[in-house]
C-alpha cells in the first residue's frame, strides 16, 4: 500500500470511529483583513509551541503592516505609504534614528497628525534602530530579533508586551489619520496577542526565507 493510500485508510478509520479532537487539524477561524483574531481563536491548537507560533504569526500581521514597517527599514531611510515608497523628503536616520541636523523627524512630524497637511504625527516620532529592522526580514527573523535584548532595545518579554500594548508611537498605527489604512485590529488586541505569545513560550515560526514585507 502506498503511503498516501495508507494515510487515507487511517483517516477513514478515524472518522468512522469518532475522531479524537487531538487528531483533527486545528480549527482556527481564517483571518479578516482589518481585524485581528483574539488569542482564544487559537485555543484549538492544543500543542503549546504550535499555538505560540500561530499567535506570533497573527501578531506579525501588525508588525509587517506598512503603518509599522515603514519606520522599521532595513536601510537608513524610512519608507512611506502602502507600497513602502522612499520617504519624501529624502530623510536619513542620522546618529540617533531621529534624522540629521536641519532635517530631523521632528522638523515636520508633530505630536499628533496634522490633518490639513496630512503629515502623520505621534509623540517621539523616529525610526526604529537599525537592529530592529523588519523590512526584508522573515517572520522567523523578526521573532528572534524581538526576543533578543541586544536587538530589541534591551527589553524583557514583559516590556515587549507593554511596548506593543501601550506605547503611543506604536499606537499611531491604529490612528494614522488622513486616508491611511490602519494596522489590523486594535492596539489592545495586538498587545493581547503578544502577551499570549509570550505566555505560550514565545516560540518563533520556522525559517522559510519568505520576507514579511519588502519594497
Amino acid at each position: 500500500m502506498s503511503t498516501s493510500r495508507g494515510r487515507f485508510a487511517i483517516l477513514v478509520t478515524l472518522l468512522a470511529c469518532g475522531t479524537p479532537a487531538a487528531v483533527l487539524p486545528p480549527r482556527v477561524t481564517p483571518p479578516l483583513p482589518d481585524q485581528l483574531r483574539p488569542p482564544s481563536a487559537f485555543d484549538g491548537i492544543l500543542d503549546r509551541a504550535e499555538r505560540s507560533r500561530a499567535l506570533f504569526a497573527e501578531a506579525s500581521r501588525v508588525l509587517f503592516h506598512p503603518r509599522c514597517a515603514n519606520c522599521h527599514p532595513s536601510g537608513d531611510a524610512p519608507t512611506q505609504r502602502d507600497d513602502l515608497e522612499r520617504h519624501d523628503p529624502p530623510v536619513v536616520r542620522g546618529d540617533h534614528d531621529q534624522g540629521v541636523p536641519g532635517l530631523m523627524c521632528g522638523s515636520c512630524h508633530q505630536d499628533d497628525n496634522a490633518a490639513l497637511a496630512r503629515v502623520p504625527g505621534a509623540p517621539k516620532w523616529q525610526l526604529a534602530p537599525r537592529e530592529m529592522a523588519w523590512q526584508d526580514r522573515s517572520a522567523h527573523q523578526v521573532c528572534e530579533q524581538i526576543k533578543d535584548r541586544s536587538r530589541n532595545g534591551n527589553r524583557s518579554l514583559d516590556a515587549v508586551v507593554e511596548h506593543v500594548a501601550h506605547d503611543p508611537l506604536v499606537g499611531w498605527g491604529w490612528h494614522p489619520g488622513a486616508d491611511r489604512a490602519s494596522a489590523p485590529g486594535t492596539q489592545a488586541e495586538a498587545g493581547a496577542l503578544v502577551a499570549a505569545w509570550v505566555a505560550t513560550g514565545a516560540e518563533c515560526p520556522p525559517e522559510d526565507r519568505k520576507k514579511g514585507v519588502s519594497r
Binding site: D88, P89, P90, V91, V92, V100, P101, G102, L103, M104, G106, S107, C108, Q110, D111, A114, L116, A117, R118, V119
Partner: protein
Amino acid sequence: MTVRLRVNGETKDVDVDPEMPLLWVLRDVLGLPGTKYGCGQALCGACTIHLDGEAVRSCVTPVRRAVGREITTIEGLSKDGSHPLQRAWVELAVPQCGFCQGGQIMTAAALLAKKPKPTDDEIDTSLAGNLCRCGTYIRIRAAVKRAAGL
C-alpha cells in the same frame, strides 16, 4: 485665545487659534514675510524656521508647539545680514528667484550649529528636504562650505 511667543528675541502676544500654523502667525499676524509658504505639507522647506535652534517646518507646526520656546526666523538670524551664511550667500550670488533661500539658509544654520565643519555628504543630507526650483544646489553647497570656512 492669547498666545505668548518669543520671536527673534522679542516677546509677542497674539490672539490666534492655538492650532493655527506657525507660518500664518509669523507672516500674517506678526508681519514677518521672510518665511515663505511653499507647499503647506512640509515637503519643500521654504517655511523653515528655528524652534530653540532646531529647524522646523512652520507650515505644519501648530503655534501651540512654539509656546515657551525661542522662535528664530530668517529676519532674526542676524540683525544686519551679517551671519556667515548670509554673507556667503551674497558673495556667491546663490539665489536665483530667491523664494526658497530663506528656508535653505535656516536649515544650513541649524546644520552648522551642530556640525561646524560638515562634509559634502552631511550638507547634502541635511539640505535634501529643501527644494530649489531654480536648481541652485551647487551654489548652496558652496556657500555652506564657505560659511563653515571650508
